[in-house]
């Protein structure tokens, strides 16, 4: 079970109160009419499904009923951060890679 911090209720709650709502940061095409079938299909159905750091959309379904984003490691199941809709994640796979590289260079 996850023990999730809701950024709106400002406290940790059991996973039972939440629903996962898929991958975060998927913008709807501004002009759907001009999309090709391929572009629209990719927007609708194709997700990244990464191994490692992943940004997800969750909803506090039984609590405040608000949506928020979560950065989670799909390998370790560790929740790295939660942030409100409209905010940018501070932990990304690109940032994690850079950090790992600099550690190698420093010889850590």
């Amino acid at each position: 079970m996850f023990y999730i911090y809701c950024p709106h209720c400002e406290e940790h709650r059991e996973e039972e109160e939440f629903h996962a709502a898929g991958e975060a940061h998927i913008p709807r095409p501004l002009d759907p009419e001009s999309c090709s079938d391929k572009e629209w299909g990719e927007y609708m159905f194709f997700r990244t499904n990464p191994r490692g750091i992943h940004h997800e959309l969750w909803v506090h379904a039984v609590g405040c009923r608000k949506f928020f984003n979560m950065t989670r490691n799909t390998q370790s199941y560790e929740i790295l951060e939660v942030y409100k809709i409209g905010e940018k994640p501070s932990i990304t796979s690109a940032a994690a890679k850079l950090q790992a590289q600099s550690k190698v260079q420093e010889g850590v």
Binding site: C9, E14, E16, E17, V62, G63, C64
Partner: protein
């Protein structure tokens, strides 16, 4: 945020229809709570004078009004203070005076509980006093309140909800919406050993059966 949201010239009252759910000519028809079939009044009479470690009282036929709006909009928060005499409570807080209480539900949503016979009057006053982008909805028919009191209520809740109800993490005046058994409830601690559950009308029978089942090991007494 749109312009209309914080524009105090935006007249909310002009955009809504406010309807009396119990007009004067129907007042002689007695209202029925969702737990009418359980006949709590008769049970309470039969148990009169008894004391139990859990006392259950239904606070029935109250007026429930949902308020939605933005705290940053002065026309909304000031209008509520002016109408109800209570300021909107912050995150997970509940405030109350003699007969009005306000529960925080979400960052832009509050539940106001008022005496049943005053619900139309207060709803109208809110509609007239609030400015800007907001909403007032009377949901009185959709839910009811159960008050639980006694030394074993905390143990009963420990069996029913997935969160910590110890006074350290659930002090008096806190309110949460959470899972209650297989349904949900807005749970608030109103006293050291006193709790209030706001439950859905359609789940009230389930909650009533659950409470009886759950308090079999304690002593449940119905009071009025």
């Amino acid at each position: 945020m749109s312009d209309s949201e914080n524009n105090s010239a935006f007249n909310y009252a002009a955009t809504v229809n406010c309807m009396d759910q119990r007009p004067a000519q129907q007042r002689q028809i007695e209202g029925q709570s969702p737990l009418q079939h359980a006949d709590l009044a008769t049970l309470a009479k039969a148990q009169l004078g008894q004391t139990g470690s859990i006392q259950l009282t239904e606070l029935k036929l109250l007026g429930h009004i949902i308020l939605r709006g933005n705290l940053d909009n002065p026309g909304f928060s000031a209008g509520v203070k002016l109408t109800l005499g209570l300021a909107l409570p912050g995150t997970l807080q509940m405030v109350s005076d003699a007969d009005i209480s306000i529960r925080w539900v979400s960052p832009d949503e509050w539940l106001v509980v008022v005496p049943g016979e005053r619900s139309y009057e207060i709803e109208q006053a809110l509609v007239n006093n609030l400015q800007g982008h907001c909403a007032v909805v009377n949901v009185s028919g959709g839910q009811t309140i159960l008050r639980l009191e006694g030394e074993d209520v905390q143990k009963l809740l420990q069996k029913s909800v997935p969160l910590d109800v110890h006074p350290l993490s659930f002090p008096i005046g806190k309110v949460v919406t959470t899972v209650f058994a297989k349904t949900q409830a807005v749970i608030s601690r109103t006293g050291d050993q006193q709790w209030e559950l706001v439950i859905r009308r359609s789940f009230s029978d389930y909650v009533w059966l659950w409470l009886q089942d759950c308090s079999a090991e304690f002593k449940l007494v119905i009071t009025e």
